[in-house]
């Protein structure tokens, strides 16, 4: 940065992590840097094992549903739905259609709030904090809706094996309609502030590239894969809940923005368009919502005894806001499942960091790391070890670097 050529020519290592902002789970990064440019990168996940699965294997499925809510603070419905679907397949439980529609509505509301949360975080990583606050204010509407429908802002506790625990009343349908109208009115403005902004375009276009081939080879999923042009979406490929009745197509970056290029900018486009898609899906659900029960078995003791008798194994898959989420469950006639394994969506996207980060500048690392949406985790610091001497690069320093780069761009 200071033009010192000797420093630039010696590669050095920048470790980031294991605990660091913009990382959902603690991950250890090792960057081999040449000057400001990332030459190669390696990372080691596996630093946070909370033992939720272990806890689950000592509890019955009705209890586990509430544990799954707590795997992720954002994807509560995703995980509980995925788990419930696995257990429902094993015990051959048929979810009533109305429950399927309610699940779909909540699932999409959750996607909306998750994508808005991500958009805010991305703006923050670019040093655009006013946009962060604006986005998060807009997000409140979806949080309020979820709160109204489930009773809680996070950890909704709405999914039950065989259905949902709360029905949606006519008043609540009105509220949802109002919420959808609110977001419909805002969509164009959101697209303008994110996609028309010169600085955002300069910071994101052509950065963090993940080619179609790499996305395929590294098994990327969700918006990360779709931004690289892979047309895949569990909701479309293996419909679950009410998606079979609805019109859902994988969202790819449209031609008006130059088609899929697989950069950070495309990931913004895909997520913004998916918010619009979610609005549309919820509307479709409201329009064709069937009447009837919302639980397959209302009497919990009876449900428990049926689940206790269940034998077999199954996989529950859903399209989380970050990509496919998978729960594997095996039951062998006991209260608790014999095995329960969770594969969260970020896991599949981690590998795409390697091609994305190669050749980028250190200041671009926060936004590229955040671009696969690995949830904001807590702040820690980065240590640079250069020729044996260590100096600390805190989260503030990194944000500062990112901001300076934005400022440099806005000046020219």
């Amino acid at each position: 940065m200071n033009g010192d050529t000797t420093k630039k020519s010696t590669p050095y290592t920048v470790p980031i992590g294991p605990v660091h902002p913009a990382l959902k789970e603690p991950v250890m990064f090792n960057f081999l840097m040449e000057g400001e440019v990332v030459k190669s990168v390696d990372f080691a996940p596996g630093n946070v094992h909370r033992g939720i699965e272990w806890m689950g294997m000592r509890r019955n499925p009705v209890q586990i549903v509430h544990l799954t809510d707590r795997i992720c603070g954002i994807c509560g419905i995703v995980h509980s739905l995925s788990f419930a679907r696995a257990v429902e397949q094993i015990a051959e439980i048929e979810v009533p259609p109305r429950a399927d529609y309610i699940r779909t509505i909540l699932h999409e509301l959750e996607r909306m709030q998750s994508h808005l949360l991500w958009a805010g975080v991305a703006a923050h990583e670019l040093g655009f904090d006013s946009l962060l606050f604006l986005t998060w204010r807009v997000r409140e509407q979806s949080m309020d809706l979820i709160e109204n429908l489930t009773g809680n802002r996070v950890n909704y506790g709405i999914v039950q094996i065989g259905g949902v625990r709360r029905d949606i009343s006519n008043d609540q349908i009105l509220l949802i309609e109002q919420g959808l109208a609110y977001y419909r009115g805002l969509l164009d403005q959101m697209k303008t502030v994110f996609l028309d902004d010169s600085t955002i375009r300069m910071r994101c276009r052509g950065h963090g590239l993940l080619s179609y081939r790499d996305a395929q080879l590294l098994c990327a999923i969700g918006p990360t894969a779709r931004a690289s042009g892979l047309a895949m979406d569990v909701r479309h490929d293996y419909p679950y809940c009410a998606y079979g009745d609805l019109d859902v197509q994988p969202v790819l970056p449209p031609q008006e923005f130059g088609g899929p290029q697989g950069d950070v900018y495309d990931r913004i486009i895909v997520r913004l368009l998916e918010i619009a898609q979610s609005i549309d899906i919820i509307q479709q659900c409201l329009d064709s919502m069937p009447a009837g029960e919302v639980l397959w078995e209302k009497k919990l003791p009876k449900l428990l005894s049926i689940l206790k008798k269940a034998h077999g194994e199954a996989i529950g898959r859903v399209e989380a806001p970050r990509g496919e989420c998978m729960h594997y469950v095996r039951m062998d006639g006991n209260d608790a499942p014999a095995t329960w394994k969770v594969k969260a969506s970020t896991y599949s996207n981690l590998m795409s960091w390697i091609p994305m980060l190669k050749g980028e500048q250190l200041a671009d690392v926060p936004i590229i790391v955040a671009s696969i949406d690995p949830c904001m985790s807590c702040t820690d610091r980065v240590t640079i070890i250069r020729n044996g001497s260590a100096d600390d690069l805190t989260k503030e320093d990194l944000t500062q670097l990112s901001r300076e780069k934005t400022r440099r761009f806005s000046r020219c």
Partner: protein, 134 residues
């Protein structure tokens, strides 16, 4: 051409009321505990929280009289927050451990467990009287 579409929105924000509800006080008091003490003494006023949503799941209540000691609630509590007291054949709920799922409310055959609107539950002692429902 440099385009900054946020500019108009930012200028508009200058004349808008903040969206955040400043709870419990408009400005962060130097010490929240002292502030709450003052509130208790009537020297300061609390800025009210946002209303809770319908059917909110707050602190649990227990109707000891109608409980039959069937222990079904223990079977579904994911947090193991309910303890059975064999001598009285009644249950005790540890609020500090409860995760407010209301699953026990659903299974109770005598309908003696309910969730209230109360959500300001933090204390320093997890075994304080207000943290144990029996």
């Amino acid at each position: 051409m440099v385009r900054l579409p946020m500019m108009t929105e930012l200028l508009r924000q200058l004349f808008k009321k903040p969206a955040t509800n400043a709870f419990p006080a408009r400005y962060l008091p130097p010490s929240v505990t002292t502030f709450l003490h003052k509130v208790a003494l009537g020297e300061a006023a609390i800025n009210p929280p946002m209303p809770v949503p319908p059917k909110f799941r707050g602190k649990i209540t227990y109707d000891r009289e109608s409980c039959i000691g069937c222990q079904l609630c223990l079977k579904v509590c994911p947090a193991h927050a309910i303890e059975f007291l064999p001598t009285t054949k009644r249950v005790r709920i540890y609020v500090a451990q409860c995760i407010f799922c209301s699953q026990c409310n659903d299974i109770c055959p005598k309908d003696c467990l309910h969730m209230t609107d109360e959500f300001l539950l933090a204390t320093e002692n997890r075994f304080a009287d207000c943290q144990i429902v029996e």
